[in-house]
Symmetry: C2
Subunit: 266 residues, 2 copies
């Protein structure tokens, strides 16, 4: 009973657990139906360029909320939150180099930092599962396959680079349904960017992803379907070697009070 009560059921519970140091695990599967977000924190002088990059590339960079310089509360998506403490694990990069993986930012917070909360694939993955499309990496507790493509993002200011995509094998008779189900969420990656032949988007070997785990086709009729991935903005920001950049550690997301269905268009 005690153990059971410790599993966070809502965004608020999960953030409180992270804040108190009780939650250090990944947020995958926790607080189901609540929108989880990628975190990117950058100095204010880069904020316009980065926001513009997101605006120009909404599929890989779906903005859920931006906290103005120095603000620590996500007032829209998570009232009462504190971005310095409410993510289970952070990563700190200086000049693009990984330097630390702290559980709190209280010691290094600066008043000029602008926080970007970007939608993550969990939202549309839940939609796929609800539509009868199995996602083996969910049950296996592993990661999807991710690839750097030859699709160029639209550059903005100092930021430019290729789109990163995630891939899921979809049974041939479910591909149309997968497009429909994820099209309902244009604000959180939305519809696939490509269906079928990996070579068409510059992927040489589907068995060797650039990030995440490799997944062989689960059946002979399975089709690889590719979605824009939230790793894109992090990769692009890092490539510009900002003096300071802070992100969540992989899989350790910021969980909001918003529900997945809040982002459905129809």
């Amino acid at each position: 009973m005690e153990q059971q009560a410790d599993v966070p059921r809502t965004g608020r519970e999960l953030r409180a657990a992270a804040r108190s140091g009780r939650c250090r695990r990944t947020t995958s599967g926790a607080a189901p139906d609540f929108v989880q977000t990628n975190v990117a924190i950058l100095p204010k002088e880069l904020a316009f360029d980065f926001l513009l990059f997101c605006q120009r590339n909404p599929k890989p960079c779906p903005v859920i909320e931006v906290l103005e310089a120095g603000e620590v509360e996500a007032r829209f998506s998570a009232p009462g939150s504190d971005i310095r403490t409410d993510v289970p694990l952070y990563r700190v990069y200086r000049q693009g180099r990984f330097v630390d993986e702290p559980q709190s930012l209280l010691g290094i917070w600066q008043g000029d930092l602008v926080t970007f909360l970007l939608g993550c694939s969990f939202t549309f993955e839940h939609a796929l599962v609800r539509n009868g499309i199995p996602l083996p990496h969910f049950t296996a507790g592993r990661n999807v396959s991710m690839y750097v493509t030859n699709i160029a993002c639209r550059p903005a200011g100092v930021f430019s680079g290729p789109m990163v995509v995630s891939m899921r094998w979809i049974a041939a008779d479910k591909v149309v349904r997968a497009v429909q189900a994820t099209s309902r969420f244009p604000a959180v990656h939305g519809a696939p960017v490509h269906i079928g032949d990996p070579a068409r988007i510059g992927i040489r070997d589907i068995a060797r992803p650039d990030f995440g785990d490799a997944w062989p086709p689960p059946s002979p009729d399975a089709v690889p379907v590719f979605w824009a991935c939230g790793v894109t903005p992090q990769a692009v920001a890092m490539a510009s070697k900002p003096e300071l950049m802070i992100t969540h550690a992989p899989g350790h997301m910021f969980v909001t009070d918003l529900r997945d269905e809040d982002f459905a268009v129809l």
Copy 2:
């Protein structure tokens, strides 16, 4: 025949006509199916706050494209364009006061100006017409009714203020279809923000709009339906009294090469 050939059929033709001084009329009804945009040009020091205001208020402030500081070509939505010459008529405001209505910005352009192109209601109005919902202001060559509401926009930096809405009378048996047809365009105002009782959103007298023309109900069963209006960001920006702000003159929009259907989600 000569006359006919002079009516711009595409965004490119319309912009060329504006650039050469041949087009000084409103763009309503010209270049059908091409996306027309509201124009807001602000100094760079206000650009992050304004882009963030648009991100936080996507229904009244749908961003189609942002031109970086000093850029004059809308490379994404209108390749080959020049924002200094391709709008038929501009308005110039200094410290929030209207000072000039030029046909070109060549004389006053500055390298620190950031141009915002924001979606306009023409896109979803075409969708309504295609769905058998008549819009009398279209055929009469007049304007919709617009009202300042008690719906607060989410503030961003120096920008804050109420949402402005436009109203269209919709026959009771067409209201659901009107919601569906406009929901397809979440990136260009999208679904209505309110259906029915004007008092619920702070409108005292529907016969006395704050902007545009008054429209009596066309039939006893007509319902007033309200959409977020692109006048909102202009009103909000002006209220902050920026040193310099340039907009299109009412009805004289910047016409892109994009098609309305490019913005449909399904």
